[in-house]
Point group: C2
Chain length 220, copies 2
Amino acid sequence: MQNSFTEENYLKIIHALSGREGVEVSTNALAESTSTRAASVTDMLRKLADKGLIHYKKYQGVTLTESGEKVAIKVIRKHRLWEVFLVEKLGFGWDEVHDIAEELEHIPSEVLVEKLDTYLGHPKFDPHGDPIPDAKGNLTEPDYLILTDVHVGEKVLMMGVLDHAPSFLQHLDRSGITLGAVIEVKEINEYDKSASVQINGGPTLFISLEVSKNLLVQRR
Amino acid sequence: MQNSFTEENYLKIIHALSGREGVEVSTNALAESTSTRAASVTDMLRKLADKGLIHYKKYQGVTLTESGEKVAIKVIRKHRLWEVFLVEKLGFGWDEVHDIAEELEHIPSEVLVEKLDTYLGHPKFDPHGDPIPDAKGNLTEPDYLILTDVHVGEKVLMMGVLDHAPSFLQHLDRSGITLGAVIEVKEINEYDKSASVQINGGPTLFISLEVSKNLLVQRR
DNA sequence: ATATATTTTTAGGTTAGTCTAAATTTTTTA
DNA sequence: TAAAAAATTTAGACTAACCTAAAAATATAT
Ligand SMILES: [Mn+2]
Ligand SMILES: [Mn+2]
Ligand SMILES: [Mn+2]
Ligand SMILES: [Mn+2]
């Protein structure tokens, strides 16, 4: 039996909220993320449990089964590959592709995904720095730092974002903070944790804690 | 209000069955094409009529309104552009792309379609020789001949197919009959209208009336 | 011009996914 | 540890898109 568009979205969201440790996800958290009501979530959870895609005990929250995890990762693979296509081939900005990929990720053909992957040169990361699962379903989250964990004087590489909102990505564009940029932390203000950073050895700019909290970086 | 996946399919099918002259399409014909029952079609027709997308008088068949026509042509544009993408960029065969395009044609973003079109170099025809509507919604069906209308001794260019079934397209592949091939009619058998044709000045082969009826060609 | 056959519509129901309101369970607080 | 608050589930209902069976309209044949 094929999974519906809606079921795939639930699985993907459970995967995201469950995190690497596979913690239980609450009904309310799912209602929030799916923009539905808790009662609707409960209905869907019963269905996903019946299909063997989630572990569900009433009032106890849910986690993905192995089979649910597999489906979720396939959807994530498609989402991220399509985002690469949209940016690399069609020339979209990284702030424009999420909603379109949200639709494309549900196109069912396996062979399509594999041909797309080949066409794109088997990319390992999407335009936001998120890792792309391989064809076998292996997804390894690199362990990046958040910029707030970086000390004054350190130079790090910009590797990804936590917030994917267009407004945030556009803000980064205007600041010249792109994937791969070298960020040197020049100063951190004790008062509000805002920071002064130098980008690619060029201009120095101030960024708020809000921005720092959403930047994934790596020591070199 | 956005049109649903299902509504778009109805409009596209009404467009196809209605033809260039815009003849009325019957409930049964739509039931056949949509693989649903006549009663379901009636339900949908009432809905499409309420939305102003079709002209509908009970028992009298339907035609598209201008606004319905516009929607149908947009869907056709997307379908055919995606087919070009799948064949030209991803390396699918022309016999493999229809079902995938059937899904991709419902992805909503306007800007996506236009960027895709640009990326593909504004193609005028899809892999089956069908014309691609332009961004303004102009769709001009070239008036090709059917191979059955070609006389012995004439040389014509293969321009398209009427049957889009994978089995038919694969049969053409095996026969070396591709878009743009030169077909010279060497002989027509009176008994069953099967024909002997020469492809690109090379091999001569026999084709049945069934095949001839589905080949669109052009005099040079 | 009837009678018969065909087509189409209506009537009444189903399923997926959603909702609000009420009941129940779990968690937190006093 | 009992009361209050919060989270979750249940009950009952809605819409979109489908279905079968029956009724009504149109087309065809005698
Ligand atoms: Mn995304
Ligand atoms: Mn992404
Ligand atoms: Mn097609
Ligand atoms: Mn085509």
